[in-house]
């Protein structure tokens, strides 16, 4: 018998004409939401979350998941979501948790921006016939290139170039720790990154011994919990990143419950098995910008200035000034995570209400760094719900050097966005540590699907560049006159520095 007064959100409908009673679905459900008593039926206690694993794996296609048709009496301010949250909170007295990104109807500014195309005066370029260059270098660039005269009077480079990350396509994978996702999920991303000529990120959970072979494609994270941080770890990667904040939960830390801290996670993070892994809200050695500078340079020293150092922050109200401080503190890359960004677990109220959209943040930061003449000193990564190649292209056009994708890559691995990552029951083997579920995700299969997705985006980006009449991505990057806005207010357009359509 269910204990909660909150009605089921979804109902599994079994077509008993088709069902052969193989019980595969009962085993398949990570949430144990199906039982078998003479026939398959919704479990009396556990609830379906609409992850669709059973639907995708029923050999008879006998399962349909529907929204519970039970409707509360309509009310514009007391919506059914709010009534359910209120009821659930009355039952538990706790903070409500969610997985994945902000699902509230804030609107997506990407969908209000149109890209330009060439007609007559400048010809479009056919990417199938002409080179179309997407190669991107992330890292600090000097203000100017200095030249000296070499042998035979040839000009030769005199500038010592700072370390750069070379991306064959301007997309990297967002940091997702071993712990928040499974080892097989991380390995899928690592393999895909190598295949694509881009990078994956360890997140704040250290680097599992099995993944050291992919470390040359890894951005190594150093977060407030310092999990798994040691000299070999720092030196193993292509870049080091200080995680200050995350778009889904700016200003708060992380909590991996002890139940999820398996032997492998414990080893990777350097903590006892079964102990809670708590990431403090601030780094306890960073209480100001000068403290951040010290950590940036400590990491540069530790890595002998051979790799760029990135700082990841959540997009918050004052993001432009903060980013400027971070660049001046010595960061080579600034990673900005918008408030629709995903998470393995966040307090729902924080996920849904704190921070600002990435569209606004990336525009404000790029502009501020230009006004201060320091835009070349750091590369910008935009993240926080980059859903497709259109979002990618628009992010670059507003001024991002590259984007990071988390949710989209997980969808490629099978994720159906059921938003239950925090429960650890992911039927798809992505956001879980239960061995029988993790086993379901074959890294080779996963890597191929993730690589397919990004290859598709890459081809689409080339098509768009061709339509825009440029044959290198840097000629679109920050070129905001190639965007027009439909239905955005004047102030938003002013911040985005984008004209209205028709202007």
């Amino acid at each position: 018998m269910r204990q909660s007064l909150v009605p089921r959100r979804f109902i599994q409908v079994i077509d008993y004409e088709k069902c052969q009673r193989c019980k595969r679905c009962v085993q398949a459900c990570g949430f144990r939401a199906l039982s078998f008593e003479g026939r398959v039926q919704p479990d009396a206690e556990q609830e379906c979350v609409a992850c669709h694993y059973c639907v995708a794996h029923c050999p008879e296609e006998a399962i349909t998941i529907i929204d519970n048709p039970l409707e509360y009496r309509p009310h514009d301010s007391w919506t059914s979501d709010i009534i359910m949250q209120t009821t659930r909170q009355a039952e538990t007295a706790g903070v409500l948790l969610s997985g994945m990104g902000n699902d509230r109807p804030w609107g997506v500014l990407w969908d209000r921006l149109c890209l330009d195309a060439c007609q007559v005066t400048n010809p479009p370029i056919d990417p199938l016939r002409e080179p179309m260059e997407l190669r991107t270098y992330l890292g600090r660039k000097p203000d100017a290139v200095e030249i000296k005269v070499g042998p035979e009077g040839k000009p030769v480079l005199a500038t010592q170039m700072p370390p750069q990350l070379r991306l064959d396509t301007p997309v990297i994978f967002a940091p997702m720790s071993f712990g928040s996702i499974s080892l097989n999920a991380q390995k899928s991303l690592a393999m895909a990154a190598r295949e694509l000529g881009t990078y994956w990120s360890t997140g704040e959970g250290g680097l599992h011994p099995d993944l050291y072979e992919y470390a040359d494609r890894a951005i190594i994270q150093c977060a407030s919990g310092r999990f798994g941080v040691h000299e070999d770890y720092l030196k193993a990667g292509a870049a080091v990143e200080i995680k200050i904040g995350q778009g889904a939960k700016p200003g708060i830390g992380g909590h991996l419950p002890g139940a999820k801290v398996t032997a492998a996670i414990a080893e990777t993070r350097g903590i006892p098995e079964g102990s809670d892994a708590l990431s403090p809200a601030p780094h306890h050695d960073i209480y100001s910008i000068e403290d951040l500078r010290q950590l940036i340079y400590a990491l540069k020293e530790a890595t002998e200035y051979r790799v760029p150092v990135s700082v990841k922050i959540a997009a918050v109200h004052n993001v432009a000034a903060i980013a400027s401080g971070i660049v001046r503190a010595g960061a080579d890359i600034v990673y900005i995570d918008g408030f629709r960004g995903g998470t393995g677990a966040a307090t729902t109220v924080i996920r849904n209400n704190l921070g600002i959209p990435i569209e606004i943040a990336i525009a404000a930061v790029d502009q501020r760094l230009r006004e201060e003449g320091i835009r070349n000193q750091a590369s910008l990564i935009a993240a926080g719900s980059i859903r497709n190649s259109a979002d990618l292209t628009k992010a670059l056009t507003l001024g991002a050097d590259a984007v990071a994708v988390g949710t989209a890559a997980l969808i490629a691995l099978g994720c159906h966005l059921c938003q239950q990552c925090h429960t650890g029951n992911c039927s798809w083997g992505i956001c879980t540590q239960r061995p029988e579920l993790v086993r379901r995700l074959d890294p080779a299969w996963g890597a191929e699907r993730v690589a397919n997705l990004i290859r598709g985006w890459t081809e689409e980006l080339k098509e768009i560049l061709g339509a825009l009449g440029v044959n290198a991505v840097e000629s679109l990057r920050g070129s905001r006159d190639r965007l027009r806005a439909v239905g955005l207010d004047d102030k938003t357009r002013e911040i985005l520095d984008v004209k209205a359509a028709g202007e």
Binding site: T121, P123, I125, L468, S479
Partner: protein, 362 residues
């Protein structure tokens, strides 16, 4: 609104280009170049024509010469106040011109020969001049400094270039480099300031094409203090040369590697590791300075002339040599107007500059 565009938007267009120089510094008057650009009449539509000429003010060779157009007397007064504060004005006069039936709505046209006042230590004279040009063009409505170099000047107007040349009586000037431009803007608004060439210090650019990367080129230049006030592609081209060659001291040919950057596949295939490192660094550092989209330009720069095409050559450009003369043109026919049988005629490859320098002592 005599010469500011009604629309606060960027001009774009197609055009005809012509350039001539004598490497020995032999000067000739403007009649020839007018005839050559007139040969490509079809490439313009009467909405802009112009010329740049080098070596025309030998008696003032050490002075910066500002060619300025004004929409009204007030703009002229304000500009002259600014010039008086910042420079010693050695000489000023109206730019000579004669009435021409095809040239109408002429602004006030003046030129000033300027010495910078004694500057504080560490202040770069050229930087000082550039900031004066920027301040006038961005700050004084209806005033436009359209050339600011030494011993050179630009002449431009709304009209066909052959008419513009006669209007400015270019047969009265002798130059060792002449460049010319016939404009065909797709924006039907014609305004004097939008005609080519565009100039800053000794640089002048005539341009055929549309810069599809204009947005980021402009924003990149703004981080270095350039103010793009004229809403045309060509303006950014001039400022990019100024930034790369004057401020960053890159050799001209290296600057061309920035503007029409070689493809990565060619850089990767480079066997000379030093050249590979240089070209890689140029693309990394100057990514936002790459000029993308169809273009052919002729750059005048005091001691020479340079022609450059975009990286996949989407606009025509042909070059020819005869004795000490270098010709660059949109069409070969125009070269033959001045030189029936040049010793060498060739089609420069995409992104490969054609450069002519004055000989030593010329």
């Amino acid at each position: 609104m005599l010469f500011r565009s009604k629309y606060n938007e960027r001009d774009r267009g197609a055009c005809g280009l012509f350039g001539w120089m004598s490497r020995k510094g032999r000067r000739q008057n403007g009649e020839g170049v007018i005839e050559a650009i007139a040969n490509m009449h079809e490439r313009g539509n009467g909405l802009g024509g112009g010329f740049a000429a080098y070596g025309i003010y030998p008696e003032w060779r050490d002075h910066y010469c500002f060619h300025v157009m004004y929409g009204n007397e007030e703009a002229k007064d304000r500009t002259e106040d600014l010039l008086g504060q910042r420079f010693e004005v050695a000489h000023q006069e109206e730019i000579p011109h004669q009435p021409h039936p095809a040239i109408t709505n002429e602004p006030l046209l003046w030129r000033y020969f300027l010495n910078s006042r004694s500057l504080a230590e560490g202040v770069d004279t050229q930087e000082y001049v550039v900031s004066a040009v920027m301040d006038i063009n961005a700050g004084i409505h209806e005033a436009c400094v359209f050339s600011s170099g030494k011993n050179m000047g630009a002449f431009k107007a709304v009209g066909y270039p052959e008419d513009v040349g006669k209007f400015f009586m270019l047969d009265q000037y002798e130059a060792y480099i002449w460049t010319a431009h016939a404009r065909f803007p797709t924006n039907s608004q014609a305004w004097w300031g939008g005609a080519h060439p565009f100039c800053l210090l000794d640089f002048s650019v005539v341009h055929n094409g549309e810069i599809s990367s204009y947005g980021i080129n402009r924003r990149y230049l703004e981080t270095f203090g350039y103010k793009c006030t004229l809403f045309t592609d060509t303006e950014v081209m001039v400022y990019l040369f100024d930034l790369l060659v004057r401020k960053h001291r890159l050799p001209l040919e290296v600057a061309c590697d920035v503007l029409a950057a070689p493809f990565w596949k060619d850089i990767d295939a480079e066997v000379d590791e030093e050249q590979k490192a240089l070209r890689t660094a140029l693309r990394q550092v100057y990514a936002s300075a790459m000029v993308n989209g169809p273009f052919a330009i002729i750059l005048g720069f005091g001691n020479g002339m340079l022609g450059l095409n975009d990286r996949i050559k989407l606009r025509p450009m042909v070059a020819a040599e005869n004795g000490d003369e270098l010709y660059i043109s949109s069409e070969e026919a125009a070269i033959h107007v001045l030189c029936a049988e040049p010793e060498r005629v060739w089609m420069p490859k995409a992104g490969q500059p054609v450069v002519g320098y004055l000989e030593d002592g010329a």
